[in-house]
Symmetry: C3
């Protein structure tokens, strides 16, 4: 993609994908997120960095969970927050998305957090509206979910310090997952030595860059000796469409159990973007074990989103 | 119930039910609510007691009215407020309630206001999440609605000063009412001399403690000489299920009319938790009369909810 | 109407209609809006004029767009905002509108922004609740939409300076449009020389005051030599009811095209209350042209709503 998300001066203008980011920028986001993590431990968690700014959550696909993380991050920065559930409003009146966004810009919205079922829509919007506003992609089709990719890599840094030398397995439906795609970009840019894609053949992307990623269709082999197991959420809808046989059968082959986890390194951490399907892609005992960092990911996600929003608005940070 | 809502030091950890509270604690809530009532008369009604805290309204049952009272109370304390309508979000994705709450805790929610159709759910949640958060029960099944019970008793104190010596009638479907249950506990703990339960036989609980409560199946007798008439809302759905004959017939026997109200003390006050069904359980003339304190209850309810939230967070108040 | 919206001292108590306003009051609203426009250019856009006040958006008809403008205006004044979608809450519980509003007043709501499908409902509410609160009509049936009328006239003042000597065409379904009605009042009170109503015969009101307004059933003649073209939104529902033949046919006769716009003055501006139907009442090229001030209207709308809310609360401004 043409790099519309970075200005000529090297600042973050939008966050659309992790694909074209460079290591320095990602490390900068992480370092700023660290400072927000510290504030998160204070009694009063608010900072006035976005006071008087308006963050507009524009969700064309319902996701209370993701929207809430952006809402909390924005409020903690003292921004005003607008939650617009678009499926039910202007779209039904036949107004185009660009008209909707331009109207909100005219009302002085500064940052748009956009989730849309179509891949590429946040980029399309960024290309067609005023240069003064900032777009954050909160998930588009099966294309990208950059804040998730960033927070996942940030979580790994918190527990494993150095990316160099790490073996990481991403397990599940890689092919249809925007989360997997954003994780793969980020970890690859950060120089992770070995990134494994683990899952049944039908869940593997067609065009794996084998210089960067290794495919495994067997769970035991796939997670053998890894430092990090990143589980993906199984979309139950896919099972109902009989793309995969059944929850039970999938769990038998690729569900992460205590027994299987023993094949990973002793101090391996287990990650999941949530919400988890207990007994489908992950055993309850594993999700709740001391190796699971799933809830830590959520906490770190707030700090990452605060960092991204701050960098969009404040070029001098 | 095991008293998980009070810490060893005697502080309020959760507000799940009025059942196990003691008189001192209730009086303390009332006294703090009084100070908030005074602030309510100021031009600027906000105080910074919960600044930087997040209050999460988790409603598994739709109630704009009740949710709004908690939202206003939290905002007046300068808290950030998240409104989550759960029926339509993560529940449909199959995430467990405990996972949902734990995720929100990881995002740093401090207080959860929970309404749920199942009795006992707020207590279940309080027992299964981190000890650092606070649960307020905003109504669970036909079990409990503690802030309503407290605000009703507070209203009585505002108008009648001393609980000792009072005669109070609770009128309506006692059996299925969480409001009635919370009122009965609170008034009994506060030492009200005579608490009457008034309504048709089918609306009486099976297990009335006759040392504390007296049953009346005749309206005239039930409200004779009382100081306070507490009406309950008739659930119209029950009528459609033909549990009670008809709105008209119910009104003839147990609707509170100007004529009937004459049997109560001359200065008796009339209460109702709202929303009222005019012409079903209460005559319009009574609802709008000078004896009605129904809207005062609403105002006092904000102060009570502010007091409870403050006590949950600030142990030194 | 009896002028309940102005106090004896000449202050704004409610904003229900533009019909009975006088020129001085409208000019005062505009002058205050100008100061808010300047604040809108500041880095921090918030002012504390409504701190501690509660603005309640009571929408009995869904309109995310309009509600958002009031929400932004209120938040920029530092008010607390409650969004209540009433169709789905207390109305279904059978509570009367007046009871709903009185309950919210008891919770200390100060300003109600009301949209309702029935003409006259905001006035009815203003007449039946406490004198301490303020009602803003955000659109009632096909009666009135006063903030839209005011912001439209304010937009004209920004571009054309003096109302005297202007020729203005309002184009579309005048008969069923609350927007048209509010524009007609406002422009007439402000002394616009020539106000033309342009559209097919079936879209003309029955009772046009010909001393103030001129009817045109031909688009070319109607916009000939005008300074301002104010387009109305075509309600597609009306077409489905076959009141007008088809979108295509309507566009051929009354759609504003680049070609037609040449009949207006060279520096004529084009306005539209939004959301626009591209290719139905307005050609895309016109909507996006340099003569279009449609997005400026949106920006000015925030300032007008801030001015109105401030004048309702602060009598000394």
């Amino acid at each position: 993609m043409s790099n519309i998300q970075i200005t000529k001066e090297g600042n973050l203008q939008h966050l659309l994908t992790t694909e074209s980011m460079n290591k320095e920028l990602i490390i900068k986001i992480f370092d700023i997120a660290e400072t927000f993590l510290k504030i998160g431990k204070h009694d009063v968690k608010k900072v006035p960095l976005l006071r008087g700014k308006t963050v507009c959550n524009l969700f064309f696909e319902n996701s209370t969970r993701t929207r809430t993380t952006f809402e909390i991050a924005a409020k903690r920065l003292s921004a005003d927050v607008l939650n617009l559930d678009i499926s039910s409003s202007s779209q039904s009146k036949g107004e185009s998305i660009i008209d909707t966004v331009n109207n909100l810009i005219a009302m002085s919205a500064n940052i748009f957090v956009i989730r849309h079922p179509e891949s590429g829509m946040p980029k399309y919007i960024a290309n067609n509206v005023s240069k003064d506003v900032h777009i954050i992609n909160a998930g588009d089709g099966n294309n990208s979910h950059p804040t998730q990719g960033l927070l996942d890599a940030f979580t790994i840094r918190k527990y494993k310090k150095d990316f160099n030398g790490l073996k990481i397995a991403i397990v599940g439906d890689i092919k249809h997952s925007r989360v997997a795609r954003s994780e793969m970009h980020t970890l690859s840019i950060l120089g992770v030595s070995e990134i494994r894609l683990v899952g049944p053949k039908i869940f593997m992307p067609d065009d794996i860059d084998q210089t960067k990623f290794q495919e495994f269709n067997d769970m035991k082999e796939g997670i053998s000796d890894v430092d990090v197991v990143m589980m993906l959420r199984i979309q139950k809808e896919r099972m109902q469409q009989e793309i995969i046989p059944s929850e039970k059968k999938y769990f038998e082959s690729f569900g992460l159990t205590t027994k299987l986890l023993k094949y990973a390194k002793k101090d391996a951490i287990v990650m999941h973007p949530g919400p988890i399907n207990r007994g489908v892609e992950i055993q309850t005992e594993v999700a709740d074990s001391s190796q699971s960092v799933i809830l830590a990911q959520v906490t770190f996600g707030i700090a990452i989103r605060m960092a991204v929003m701050t960098m969009l608005i404040d070029k001098n940070i």
